[in-house]
């Protein structure tokens, strides 16, 4: 996989109270199916070590994670190199179970927004309550980032990870940078 590239080659910027950078390649597998199906739950657990997340939840286990995207859709985060094999083993293990598994690693761009201003960077662009009381670790939130769809989560350190479509990575980085350029709002 030597010649695989992210959309922006790891672009980054540092603002007064927040930094934005494009993360390295991340394996992402989209899995659609009946989330109530035990086989499916077992297979996911077996492949990722994660229990099935509840509504809007994200479960992490080491370098893998599983996020609830919709009532019949999960996003599996695995090492980039393993995305292909993950899809293969899913299809194998779910033989006969009605489902859809596809590798979307290259279809996405992933950003990390860090620093004490991280929440306020997103609050400038998303119609979402980003106060700690309303949004914390363990939730996968899908919404829009300014004019494009995006999904994001926050970790214990307060760093926010944001996923959007690869083709608009430049736009997303531009919007995030513009937001991170200005100082603290001291609201969140």
């Amino acid at each position: 996989m030597s010649d695989a590239m992210t959309a922006l080659n790891g672009a980054s910027m540092q603002g007064p109270v927040a930094a934005v950078r494009e993360a390295a390649l991340q394996g992402m597998v989209l899995l659609r199916g009946d989330l109530a199906d035990e086989t499916l739950a077992a297979v996911v657990k077996d492949l990722t070590g994660c229990d099935l997340p509840g509504q809007r939840e994200m479960v992490q286990a080491g370098n893998t994670a599983v996020a609830w995207m919709s009532p019949d859709e999960l996003l599996l985060l695995v090492p980039y190199e393993e995305a292909g094999t993950t899809v293969a083993s899913l299809s194998q293990a779910l033989e006969g179970v009605y489902h859809l598994a596809v590798d979307v690693s290259d279809a996405r761009a992933l950003f990390r927004i860090s620093g004490e201003g991280a929440r306020e960077v997103l609050a400038r662009l998303c119609p979402v309550d980003l106060s700690p009381a309303a949004f914390g670790p363990g939730e996968m939130r899908r919404s829009r980032l300014a004019q494009v769809p995006a999904a994001f989560w926050i970790d214990e350190t307060g760093t926010i990870s944001l996923v959007c479509f690869r083709s608009v990575a430049g736009y997303a980085f531009g919007a995030l940078s513009a937001a991170a350029e200005s100082g603290p709002v001291n609201f969140l």
Binding site: Q55, R56, M69, S70, P71, E73, P127, V128, R142, S143, R144, P149
Partner: protein, 107 residues
């Protein structure tokens, strides 16, 4: 600027996270249907000043279509519910009647 709760992912959606989809509970008429029925299916729309049932898609979110019961004159929302139904569920109808006693039901 409406807020509608997506019944699928539970989010109180900002209007800008949604895409409107027109009148709900339309019955599709295909080949074999009369000209009248087919015209009605494509063009005849409820346009009430009051209780209205409509389709919304959680486009900037879980991507699911859902239905909403809403008042077109006050924008009051009586409830949102699954798109996999041909009639508004009873609890929605009850809530409407509770707040709009002289509602005559769907026309």
């Amino acid at each position: 600027m409406l807020i509608l709760q997506c019944p699928y992912c539970g989010i109180q959606c900002d209007e800008t996270e949604l895409a409107p989809g027109g009148q709900a509970h339309l019955k599709r008429h295909g080949p074999g249907s009369s000209d009248e029925d087919f015209e009605a299916y494509l063009f005849d729309r409820d346009n009430p000043m009051g209780v209205h049932f409509e389709r919304w898609r959680h486009a900037n979110g879980c991507g699911k279509w859902f239905l909403a019961a809403r008042c077109t004159t006050t924008l009051e929302v009586f409830g949102t519910y699954s798109a996999q139904t041909t009639e508004p569920p009873a609890e929605i109808a009850d809530r409407i009647r509770a707040r709009r006693p002289n509602w005559e039901g769907r026309t």
